[in-house]
Symmetry: C2
DNA sequence: TGCATATAGTACAATATCGTACTAACTAAT
DNA sequence: ATTAGTTAGTACGATATTGTACTATATGCA
C-alpha cells in the first residue's frame, strides 16, 4: 500500500468517532427525559426488524456485552416501553416485546428527527449519502467479520 | 426531499454508530492493560496537534464535558503517560504534556494498527476511503456547527 | 480601584458500561 | 437416563460518563 494513504484510514475512523458522538448527542436531545441513545436504538431495532427477540439476540445485534443489554432493557422495562416475557422455546431465555407506549416514543422521535435530517440534506444532499452508504456498509461487514479472528 | 431517501439518513447514522463501536473495540484490543480508547485518542491528539494544551482545549476538541476530560487525564497521569503542569498564562489553568512513556505507548499502538489497516485495505481499497472521507468531513463540520443552534 | 460576571478545573453523585462469576436450563453423547 | 459441557440471563464490582455545584482566578467596566 502506498504509505501516503495509510493516514487516511486513521482519519476515517477518527471522523467516524467524532460524527458518532455528535449525532448521539443530537439524538439524545430529541429523546424524552431519562432515555439515552441505546434505549432508542433498541426500540427502533425492535420495530425495524421485529420484536419478540431475546436479550442475547439484541446484544449480538449491537455488539454489546449481554450485561449491558440487561441493563438497557431494564431501563426500557422500568419505563413501560418494552415488556419481557418468558421464551416459550427456552426456559432460560426471554423475549422482548414492544408496548404501545414504546412504539409511540419511537415514532415520536422519528417524527422529530425527520426535519433535522431534512436540514442536513441541504448541506449533504441525498446522492452523496447514497454514494458513501455502500462503502460504510461494506466496512461494517468487514469489521464485524474481523472481530472474531 | 424525495421521501424514499429519508431512510438513508437514518441508515447512515446507524452504520456510523455500529462502525464506531466495532472500531473502538478493535482499537482497545491493541491497547495495553487499563487503557481505553479515550486515553489513546488524547495521546494521539497531543502528538498530532501539539502538547501543552489545556484540559479545556482537549475537552472542546473531542466534544466531551470537561469533567470527563479531567477523569481521562487523571488516568493518563496516573499511568505516567502525560504530565500536568501549571499554565504560566493562567493560574486557574493547566497544561498537558506528553511523557516519553506516553509517546511510546502511542507509537507502539500506531505500529500495531498499521498492519490491521493494511488488511482493511484489501477489502476497502484506499481510493474508496478517499472518496468517502470528504463527505464525512463535511458532515462532521456541519454537525459540529449545528450543535449550538 | 472595586466589583459583577465569566472561566478553568475539581468534587461529588447518578447512571452507564463491561468483565467475572454464578445459577438455571439446554444439548449431546453415551 | 446420566452427565459433561454449553448457553441465557443476572448479580456484583470496577471504572467511565456526565450534570450540578463549588473554588480560585481572570476580565470588563464603572
Amino acid at each position: 500500500m502506498d504509505p501516503t494513504v495509510l493516514p487516511n484510514y486513521f482519519k476515517l475512523f477518527n471522523e467516524i468517532g467524532i460524527i458518532e458522538q455528535l449525532s448521539r448527542n443530537f439524538l439524545e436531545a430529541q429523546l424524552p427525559d431519562g432515555l439515552i441513545a441505546p434505549h432508542f436504538v433498541v426500540l427502533n431495532h425492535l420495530i425495524r426488524v421485529k420484536d419478540g427477540q431475546t436479550p442475547l439476540d439484541l446484544a449480538r445485534a449491537f455488539q454489546v456485552p449481554k450485561t449491558t443489554m440487561t441493563h438497557t432493557l431494564g431501563g426500557l422495562e422500568k419505563r413501560g416501553l418494552v415488556e419481557m416475557r418468558p421464551n416459550p422455546k427456552d426456559a432460560r431465555s426471554k423475549q422482548v416485546w414492544l408496548t404501545a407506549s414504546g412504539r409511540g416514543v419511537r415514532d415520536d422521535t422519528i417524527a422529530r428527527l425527520g426535519p433535522k435530517f431534512l436540514e442536513v440534506s441541504h448541506t449533504i444532499p441525498p446522492d452523496r449519502i447514497g454514494a458513501i452508504l455502500p462503502v460504510l456498509e461494506e466496512l461494517r461487514i468487514y469489521l464485524d467479520a474481523a472481530r472474531d479472528r
